[in-house]
Assembly symmetry: C2
């Protein structure tokens, strides 16, 4: 890391394209750590613009792309993956030469495919994904500490300007994150396992319960502390964001669903045939993973 980046302001003007949970959290974190002189946002929702201004998350909130991004030397794309292409099409003509554009999309291959070709020469695009977030949505749900102790993955493309990459790494470190560089395709495969499959499974199991007859559904809610509630938290995540993730990381997600289904079928079979030793040995293995996560301070 360049030592010049260890203190002081990193960017004159940061513009968040989308000021939801992640965008508003990063905006707050930039403010808290004094990393940008001015913080703006481009946001289609009147309500979200008003909340972001009222809470002092941004210094200016715009619905017009030119007004929002023209002066920005850092642009953070923080909209659902499926909306990236349209917002970049709108801002591209107004971007300042030399600006850094990054994104926080949970899928990297599809975003790079959609965004990369639209950006003008002289703008530095460095794709990223913060491994942080809660099940809440909207600008009021954000908080400056969201990224502390969490990983920020950056997937720089061949030919990326080293100085700009160092500056963006510095920004993430100074909001408390650890930075990891990764190939985009590898990112999508890892996240399919650690994030996309768990969310799909959680949505499924909560959906299975919501299809039950009313009286049974009431009991599921009442007795949810027995395991079910752990799934409902992540199944409360933003529907649009998650729809877009599944549509845009299809191959990797379908592959891990297949693995998961095979494994579930094996356990189902062990239950049917009363194979206690198969169940027990499988259940012992999984404890080791939990311990490793606790040791890695990610629990």
């Amino acid at each position: 890391m360049n030592e010049d980046h260890a203190t002081g302001q990193l960017f004159d003007t940061a513009c968040f394209v989308g000021i939801g949970h992640i965008g508003s959290s990063l905006a707050r974190a930039l403010r808290k750590h004094g990393l940008a002189g001015r913080i703006l946002c481009l946001e289609a929702s009147d309500g979200a613009r008003r909340v972001a201004m009222d809470l002092g998350v941004v210094d200016g909130a715009f619905a017009d792309p030119a007004q929002a991004v023209a002066g920005a030397d850092l642009v953070v794309l923080a909209v659902p993956v499926g909306a990236m292409e349209a917002v970049v099409r709108a801002i591209a003509p107004h971007l300042k030469p030399g600006a850094v554009v990054t994104d926080v999309g949970s899928v990297k291959m599809a975003v790079i495919r959609d965004v990369g070709p639209l950006l003008p020469d002289g703008v530095h695009y460095i794709p990223g994904h913060p491994i942080a977030g809660t099940e809440h949505s909207g600008p009021s749900s954000g908080f400056a500490e969201l990224f502390e102790g969490r990983w920020q993955i950056l997937t720089p493309l061949p030919g990326t300007d080293e100085a700009m990459l160092a500056k963006l790494c510095a920004l993430w470190r100074r909001v408390g994150s650890m930075v990891e560089l990764m190939e985009p395709a590898h990112h999508d495969r890892v996240l399919a396992i650690t994030s996309h499959l768990p969310h799909l499974i959680a949505y499924t199991i909560v959906g299975t319960a919501s299809d039950l007859a009313d009286h049974l559904q009431q009991e599921v809610i009442k007795f949810s502390a027995s395991g079910f509630r752990d799934f409902t938290r992540i199944a409360a995540s933003d529907p649009i964001m998650w729809r877009d993730i599944f549509l845009n990381n299809r191959e990797a997600v379908l592959e891990v669903i297949q693995r998961f289904t095979e494994d579930l079928t094996a356990l189902q079979r062990a239950i049917r045939w009363g194979e206690g030793e198969v169940l027990e040995s499988k259940f012992r293995e999984t404890r080791a993973i939990r311990r490793a996560i606790i040791d890695a301070k990610q629990a």
Copy 2:
């Protein structure tokens, strides 16, 4: 509830058969609230007996059934479901006439089938299941507050002595629980959905990850905050306890696995064919369940 049960000691001598996470938590809670004059345990493990004595969880810890239960007017069976029959066979000849025997098994039909016929006349058997617990095991992991604000399900059999049932209800209320009476078969069906399926799914997904190549497994641990870690907590639960639950609630569990698999297949198909509206509407439904759990104060 009988008003006599609202304060003061309820039982002279309570004996816990098995002093693990749940047994030791309830023993601590009885002590804290002054509900039993003396607290004993019958426990096969030398180590667990020593820990329970050293921590002052019990006043006496025995490996011999007669010594442990002969004087007890409350006996709490707190061993894995598959071990219930053997421990009851050992204690039955030594039980005091008029004693209340209850259990904390997560499955009720199979425990009633195994335990009921072995108990002598004059002993009151009232099956139960506290909807509480953590992923930790053993006597040192227990704590007196475990049951506060949680549900205690009792599944009394036809002909149960009303006075004894009232006394046991009072015990659970005084350790902080809400008490629900239920038919055993209905209990097993509800818990298959709220608890057994979620645990099986968590074990499966964590198992799927633990089968990955080493370098990928390290990355799954590193980036687990993106969803995966929520599953690892419940997949760290006691392997023997869970083996026994699946073997002893087979029909209900197999039925809910079937429903779950159908629902997962429908989402998988929507991902494959790019049906965004199917995904989005499913993901919206599940948010309502989360809100209901928060409203029910079980989140």
